[in-house]
Symmetry: C2
Subunit: 312 residues, 2 copies
């Protein structure tokens, strides 16, 4: 059994985005096995179990990932992940992967694929709500797909928005008001909010939104009126209803599952697409186990590993 | 993060049985978090994900375990397991454990605890149906709880029964007919059967049965008429209905969930027990994630480990 402590060191979004796009195509064709994520609650957070099997990759396994919002006190990331891969034909444990950084990248890549297919044009202004690890991953991943002419970043702590903007001078980045960020062509929300931070009035027609932050029951970042105006795409319908941006409005009866337009897999396959300049499109990302398999494959390609003894 | 390649080398059932008994008591008190096992089907088998959190142990994590019935062709065990433990307070990955041998032991220990509480006496004849790794684990674990005066082993391949009997000469062991094995005071079924191999007529009053083999939908080892005559105890009600010995008769309407007498946790707590000499008691084991945490704790106590780098 191999252990990969630093997988994906030299990985670029140019490569990761293609792998994530390909695995969403498999999902769209119904060619993956992926039970819903399982949550276990803990006193200060939770952990989630994400098993899957992708025949086209000849890979199966599970990612285990925690969410502990107060981990900064312990000088640890909020989210840490480990992926275990098994041999499909025998079930033999093949590899353990330190998947914390990969989790950031595969989520960024899903947002980039959604934006690439659904954005109103190839040249965009990009608004980012939030300034954490995922905010930065979305910027890097989207910039590998679309030409970002202007980057507007808002954060509850403006100094964090300024620091992030300083790292993306090449994209004409600056810290702005939340209204300004929300008025961009492509808007990404990547906060841990549990009540709406982006209001309906701020979103203009034709916008594409990546709703990334909501990944558990009770979380939401957008005024539900935005969802009602939008064509909603999800990564996986059951997961999105359980824990995505749509979970709260669906529970409150403000939205029904019939208002979901489709899945990102269907978009990648060309079965669903933006139908007008004025349409607001929204991608509700919860994160799929198959994304973790897809990036694991890439990440192992050139990475160093330790060979672990496995007496059976 | 630590990796334990050979945990539990010096573990005895005297110790393991107590740890398993204690964690079933926690289960009986409703003090554990344990979502149902999740199954992912593969071309030649499946893998299962078993997450849990046991506050009394201050432990949480997940076992990943496959079942590939034709693995002998590949010179690999049918069942191989890996356990990942996380720190409860932060979710930090703490340890990866090679849990293949531990899986045998913790299942054996659950059978031993059931037999210890439910057998008709402390001095027993023990009948074993099957001759694989779990058959042997049941013998060793039960012999640590009860005085085995006679050991009758049947296997579809009689030479395997003879080989197993030869290793347990101290318990007056021999290979016998299946009828003889089924007429013992305590009967263990540990086969991969998908239709009944033990018939109702062979089981006499007062017997305690450990039904171990059925651990997936469609599997069964016992004539359903035996279940109807028995007081049925399960490790976990939902798991047993989904994948235990009772799964097929419940699906076929031969049994209802109201005919389940209780859980092993309730037995350990003294809330339920054998009520007469003539009662047939049956323990339907599916294997619980909390058993894997309990044995992981013991197994790590004196085991050697490798320290794995985990940059975050």
């Amino acid at each position: 059994m191999r252990y990969y402590p630093v997988p994906g060191k030299g990985l670029t979004y140019a490569k990761v985005n293609r792998a994530i796009e390909a695995v969403f195509a498999e999902h769209g064709k119904g060619r993956v096995s992926m039970p819903p994520k399982v949550y276990v609650n803990l006193p200060n957070g939770d952990f989630r179990i994400m098993p899957s099997y992708v025949p086209a990759l000849e890979m199966c396994g599970v990612k285990v990932v925690n969410v502990h919002p107060n981990n900064r006190e312990h000088h640890l990331p909020t989210v840490m992940a480990t992926t275990l891969l098994l041999e499909v034909t025998t079930g033999l444990p093949l590899a353990i992967i330190n998947a914390t950084a990969l989790t950031d990248m595969r989520t960024g890549a899903a947002g980039a694929i959604a934006a690439s297919y659904l954005a109103p044009s190839r040249n965009i202004s990009l608004g980012i709500i939030g300034s954490g690890r995922q905010a930065e991953a979305q910027i890097a991943a989207i910039a590998a797909e679309l030409t970002v002419q202007e980057l507007c970043i808002w954060s509850r702590t403006m100094s964090n928005a300024e620091k992030l903007a300083a790292r993306w001078g090449t994209l004409n980045a600056r810290a702005t008001s939340i209204q300004r960020a929300a008025s961009c062509d492509v808007v990404v929300t990547a906060t841990p909010a549990t009540s709406p931070v982006v209001m309906n009035d701020w979103i203009h027609e034709g916008t594409h939104i990546n709703a990334i932050g909501a990944d558990g029951p009770g979380k939401e970042e957008l005024d539900p009126a935005i969802l009602v105006r939008s064509s909603i795409y999800v990564d996986d319908i059951n997961q999105a209803i359980h824990s995505g941006e749509i979970n709260v409005p669906i529970r409150n009866g403000l939205l029904t599952r019939h208002q979901i337009t489709g899945t990102l897999g269907e978009v990648v396959l060309g079965l669903k697409k933006r139908t007008s300049k004025d349409e607001i499109t929204l991608f509700d990302s919860t994160g799929l186990a198959i994304q973790d398999l897809a990036i694991a494959r890439l990440a192992m390609e050139e990475a160093e590993y330790l060979e672990l003894p496995l007496p059976l």
